[in-house]
C-alpha cells in the first residue's frame, strides 16, 4: 500500500530534513522521535539550555531532526515543573512571520487531532545569535507519518482510513474552525503519530509559517495553488477539507497520477479534469472512500463537503454529493505557447507567465473570437475586446503597460484566480503578508504598491461572480481602500509599513534596528530598544518608519501629533517626535528605567536643545541631560526638553530681546546718521539754555537790588 511520494512532497520532506550547516551534521537516528536525533557540533554542544517563560528549557544541543518543519527546527524541550512530560520545541525562522492570531487562539488549549501548543514566546537563540520565536509542543511519540520519504502506515489497512485518519483530522479542522481559523498546513509531511504505538494520527504545526506557505501546489485548492506561497489566503475549513482530501489520496495510492507533472501541469490538469477525476481515476482507491473524496475534492468550494458532511458520513449518514459543475470548456482548442487550451482558466495561467506573447496573441484578435465563437461567451469576449481596444498609448501610466493589460485579461478569464501582475501572484486577502514576506526576502516592494494604487484589486473585486455585497468582497473593498489611503501618505506611521502591521495581526516588528530581536508586542519594544542602544551607532534614530507603524497599530490611542512631529523634515522636530513617542510608551507601559535608551536619545538631542533661543537655557538643559540619563526616565527627559512653559518663556523673552536689539540699532543709526538735524536740535537746546540762564541771572540781580534798596 505504501509507495513513493510525489516529487514535490519528496523535495519538501528532504528540504525539511536538510541539516543546518553549523548546527547538526550527522545522520538522524530514525528509530524513534523520543530521543534527540542528530549529533551536533562542538559549539552547539557547549550551549546551555535556554529558558522560555521561566518554566521550559530548550536544549540547542539536542535537536530532533525528524520533527523539523520546513520553516522551523525542532529541539528537545522540558517542563521544569513536570520533567516527565514529553515536549519538543520548534525554533521558528525569524525571516518568516508566525501566525500570531492563530497562536493566541490555541495556546494552552488541548485540540483533538492536533499537536497541543503548550507555550510560546521569543527566546535568545544562541545558535543564531538573535531572538527567535519558540513554540513548545507536546511531543508526538510515534514520529512523523512520512519518514525519509517513506509512509509509515504499513500497519493500517486502507479500510481503517475513516476512523484512523478522517476522524481525528476532521476534528482538528473542526476545532480550529470553531475558533475562526483554518490549519492551512495539512500535507503528509505534517502528520504525526501521537502515541508510541502509532495508532493516533495528529496534525502537526500550522503556526511557523503564513497560511499555505509550506503547502505543495498538489495539495492546495486551484486558486491558492496558483498563488505564490507567500500570497495564499488565510482560507477556511473548506480549504482544509480539500487539502485533507488531497493528503488522504496521497496516503492511499502507491503511484500518484501527478508524480511526473510540474506545478503548472498539475494546475492545468486539475482545471481541465477536476481534482477528483485527476486524483482518483485509474488509482486504487477503496470504493467506500470514493464518495467522501468526490465531495471533498470538489473544485467548486460552494459544492464541496464541509466538516458537517464528513462528520455525517463518518457516522454512517449518507450525504448528498452534488454533481460537479461542468468546467467552462471550448469544443475546439485555442493554441497558445504550443499548448492547446480548452479552458479560459488555463489560458489565463499561461498568459500570466508569458506576457509579451500574450500581448501579441491579444492583438491578433484570435482569443476574442475564440471566446465568442467557441466558448459561446459574448460578454467575456466583449470585455476582453474592450480592454484591448481601450488601451491608452504607452507612457508612464502603468495602466497602459502590457503587464497591467494582461493582468486584467487574466482576471476576466479566471476571476477566482489570484491577482497576477509582473511575476507576482497572490490572493487579494494576503496583501499584508505579501508585503511582509517580500520585505523579509529583501525583494522590490514597489511592484505591490504599484498594483494596489493602479486599481487592479478593485477590478478583481468587480470581476467576481456572485453578489457584490458578499462579506468577502466587502472586506476586500475595505481592505484596499485602507491600503490605498495608507500608501497615499508618505509619513511616519503610514505607507507600506503601516500596511504590513495593519493587515498582519501580531506580526513582529520588522525594523532593521530590531533585526536581532523579536518584538511581537508593544510592551517589549522599549526594553528591546534599550538593548539595541548598547550595540548600535548612536547617530541612528531609535524610531524608524517600521517602529512608528508598529506602535500606531498596537497602541490603542491616537498618536497623530507624535507622527506629525516624527515626519517633519526639520531634524529638531523629528527628534522631539522620537522622544515623545518613546516617552509615551514608557508612560503607558512602565517598563522600568531604560538607561541605554535614554542615553541614546539624550545624545541625539543637540538640535532640539538648540531650538531654544536662550543660550543660558541651552546650557541649563545640557547640564541637566546627563543627570536624567542616569535616571533612565524618558518622561523626565521629555519634560526637560519640550517643557511648554520653558518654551513659551524662551519665545517671549526672545521676542522681547529682538525688539530691544532692533530699538538699539535704530537709535544707534539715528545718532550716527542724522547729525545735522541733531546739531540743530542741540543748538536750539543751547539757545534755550542760554535764555534760561540769562533770565535766571537777571532775576538774581533784580532781587539783589531790591534787597539792597529795602535794607
Amino acid at each position: 500500500m505504501m509507495a513513493d511520494t510525489p516529487a514535490e512532497a519528496k523535495q519538501m520532506a528532504e528540504s525539511a530534513k536538510a541539516p543546518e550547516t553549523n548546527e547538526s551534521a550527522g545522520k538522524p537516528d530514525d528509530k524513534t522521535a523520543e530521543k534527540p536525533t542528530a549529533p551536533v557540533n562542538a559549539q552547539t554542544k557547549s550551549m546551555r539550555p535556554i529558558v522560555l517563560n521561566e518554566n521550559f528549557l530548550i536544549n540547542p544541543a539536542e535537536p530532533f531532526e525528524t520533527l523539523d518543519t520546513q520553516t522551523a527546527k525542532a529541539y528537545y524541550a522540558e517542563d521544569k515543573r513536570d520533567p516527565g512530560r514529553k515536549l519538543y520545541a520548534l525554533i521558528c525562522d525569524p525571516n518568516i512571520p508566525v501566525r500570531m492570531n492563530v497562536l493566541d487562539s490555541i495556546k494552552g488549549a488541548t485540540l483533538r487531532g492536533m499537536l497541543s501548543l503548550v507555550s510560546s514566546g521569543p527566546v535568545k537563540w544562541a545558535p543564531q545569535r538573535r531572538k527567535c520565536m519558540a513554540l513548545i509542543y507536546e511531543r508526538p511519540l510515534g514520529g512523523p507519518v512520512i519518514k525519509d520519504g517513506v509512509k509509515q502506515l504499513s500497519h493500517i489497512s486502507e479500510y481503517d482510513f475513516p476512523g484512523f485518519i478522517f476522524r481525528p483530522l476532521i476534528r482538528a479542522i473542526s476545532e480550529l474552525e470553531s475558533r475562526g481559523y483554518a490549519h492551512r498546513a495539512i500535507h503528509p509531511s505534517n502528520l504525526y503519530f501521537f502515541d508510541e504505538a502509532k495508532e493516533q494520527i495528529v496534525l502537526g504545526d500550522c503556526l511557523t509559517a503564513p497560511p499555505g506557505f509550506t503547502q505543495p501546489v498538489l495539495y492546495e485548492t486551484i486558486p491558492n495553488g496558483m498563488a505564490d506561497p507567500n500570497g495564499r489566503s488565510e482560507g477556511s475549513a473548506n480549504d482544509d477539507v480539500y487539502t485533507l482530501g488531497s493528503t488522504i489520496v496521497f496516503l492511499l495510492v502507491d503511484s500518484h497520477p501527478t508524480d511526473r507533472l510540474s506545478d503548472d501541469q498539475v494546475l492545468a490538469a486539475k482545471i481541465e479534469k477536476g481534482t477528483f477525476s485527476l486524483f482518483c481515476t485509474n488509482t486504487r482507491i477503496p470504493a467506500p472512500l470514493l464518495e467522501p473524496l468526490r465531495g471533498i475534492l470538489n473544485d467548486d468550494s460552494s459544492l464541496r463537503w464541509g466538516v458537517r458532511e464528513i462528520d455525517g458520513w463518518l457516522n454512517g449518514i449518507k450525504q448528498a454529493n452534488p454533481q460537479r459543475k461542468p468546467t467552462e470548456k471550448g469544443d475546439l482548442p485555442y493554441e497558445f505557447m504550443h499548448y492547446e487550451h480548452v479552458s479560459p482558466r488555463t489560458i489565463a495561467l499561461a498568459f500570466s507567465k508569458n506576457v509579451p506573447e500574450a500581448i501579441a496573441a491579444l492583438k491578433d484578435g484570435e482569443l476574442v473570437s475564440w471566446v465568442r465563437r467557441i466558448l459561446h461567451n459574448p460578454s467575456l469576449s466583449e470585455a476582453i475586446a474592450g480592454i484591448v481596444d481601450g488601451r491608452k498609448p504607452a507612457g508612464d501610466d502603468i495602466t497602459a503597460s502590457d503587464e497591467f493589460i494582461i493582468a486584467k485579461v487574466c482576471i476576466l478569464l479566471d476571476p477566482s484566480a489570484p491577482i497576477r501582475y509582473k511575476g507576482m501572484s497572490f490572493m487579494p486577502e494576503s496583501i499584508g503578508m505579501k508585503y511582509a514576506m517580500e520585505l523579509l526576502a529583501k525583494n522590490d516592494l514597489n511592484k505591490i504598491t504599484e498594483l494596489v494604487q493602479s486599481g487592479l484589486p478593485e477590478f478583481w473585486i468587480a470581476a467576481q461572480p456572485g453578489p457584490p455585497n458578499s462579506a468577502r468582497l466587502k472586506f476586500l473593498h475595505k481592505l484596499y481602500n485602507q491600503a490605498q489611503s495608507f500608501l497615499g501618505i508618505n509619513e511616519y506611521g503610514f505607507g507600506i509599513e503601516r500596511c504590513i502591521y495593519e493587515f498582519n495581526d501580531g506580526i513582529h516588528c520588522l525594523s532593521p534596528l530590531l533585526r536581532s530581536d523579536y518584538v511581537i508586542d508593544i510592551e517589549n519594544l522599549l526594553p528591546a530598544l534599550d538593548e539595541v542602544a548598547n550595540r548600535i551607532d548612536p547617530k541612528h534614530l531609535p524610531v524608524d518608519r517600521h517602529i512608528a507603524s508598529f506602535v500606531v497599530t498596537q497602541h490603542n490611542q491616537s498618536i497623530d501629533p507624535h507622527l506629525k512631529a516624527l515626519s517633519s523634515s526639520r531634524i529638531s522636530t523629528k527628534l522631539v517626535g522620537v522622544l515623545s513617542v518613546l516617552a509615551l510608551l514608557q508612560w503607558r507601559h512602565k517598563p522600568g528605567p531604560l538607561y541605554g535608551l535614554v542615553s541614546w536619545v539624550g545624545g541625539l538631542l543637540g538640535p532640539v536643545i538648540n531650538t531654544y533661543h536662550s543660550r543660558t537655557t541651552r546650557r541649563e538643559i545640557e547640564r541637566e541631560v546627563p543627570r536624567l540619563v542616569r535616571k533612565g526616565n524618558l518622561l523626565d527627559l521629555f519634560d526637560l526638553i519640550d517643557n511648554i512653559e520653558r518654551r513659551q518663556t524662551d519665545n517671549t523673552d526672545f521676542h522681547e530681546a529682538k525688539s530691544q536689539y532692533n530699538e538699539a540699532e535704530h537709535e544707534i543709526k539715528e545718532i550716527e546718521s542724522n547729525s545735522a538735524a541733531r546739531r540743530r536740535l542741540y543748538e536750539n537746546k543751547g539757545q534755550q539754555f542760554a535764555a534760561m540762564s540769562s533770565m535766571f541771572i537777571a532775576m538774581m540781580i533784580i532781587m539783589i537790588f531790591l534787597v539792597l534798596e529795602t535794607v
Binding site: 542602544a533 533661543h613 545640557e622 546627563p626 518654551r647 540699532e665 541733531r678 539754555f689 542760554a690 534798596e709
Partner: protein
Amino acid sequence: MATDIPETEQTAGQSKKYTPRMKLGMILALLTVMFFSTSSLLLIFFAMLPTFVAYVIDRSYNRSNTICVGAANLCGVFPFLLELWLGQHSIAGAIIILTNLFNIAIMYFAAAFGWMLFIAVPPVVVSVQRVFDQHHVVNLKAQQRKLLEEWSKAVAEDVKDSAVLKETLAKSSDKKTDKGKADPKVSASELANTPPNAGQPVPPTPPPANGAPPSPQPTA
C-alpha cells in the same frame, strides 16, 4: 533717549500770532503805565532798545535770543528804574538818567552780555550733548553684544546690516579658524559621545504629577 527734532524752526516771522484780546490787553497795560508813569516808559523805551532790535532780528527757536538779550538788558536797566521810582519820578528825572552816557553804557553793555551769552552757550551745549551721544552709542552697542551673546544671531535677524552683528560674526569666524570649533558655547554635540548606561543607575522617578501623556509641542 530718542528726541524729536522739530521739522522746521519756529522763527520770529513765524512766531505765534497774538490774539486781538491779547493785543488789547497789551495796549491797555501800556496806557495804564503811561498814565501812572510816563517817565518809566520813556526810560524803558530808550534803555531797552537792544532788546527791541534783538526781537526784530530774532530767528531763534522760541525767541531765545530776545529772551536772553531782554533779560540781561532788564538787569542793566532795573537799578536806574529803581533810582527813578525812588528819586525824582518825572520825565525830567528820566531824561537825566538817559542823558548820562555812563548809565546808557551800563544798560547797553548788560544787553551785550546777554547777546554774548546767546552766542557762546549753544556751542558748548552741542559739544556736551555730542559727548553724551557717544557714550550712549557705546552703551547701546554693549547691550546689543550682550543680547547677541545670549540669544545668538537670530536676535538680529531683522537688522542684517547691524555693525555689532557683523563684528560678532567676524570674531566668531576668526575663532572658528583658530580653534576649529563652530560654537564653543553649545556643547550638546558632546552628549552624543556619552557612552550608553553611563553613570550609576538611580531609582526611576514617578510619571508627571498631572498624569498627562507626553505630547510634542507645536513650537518645537
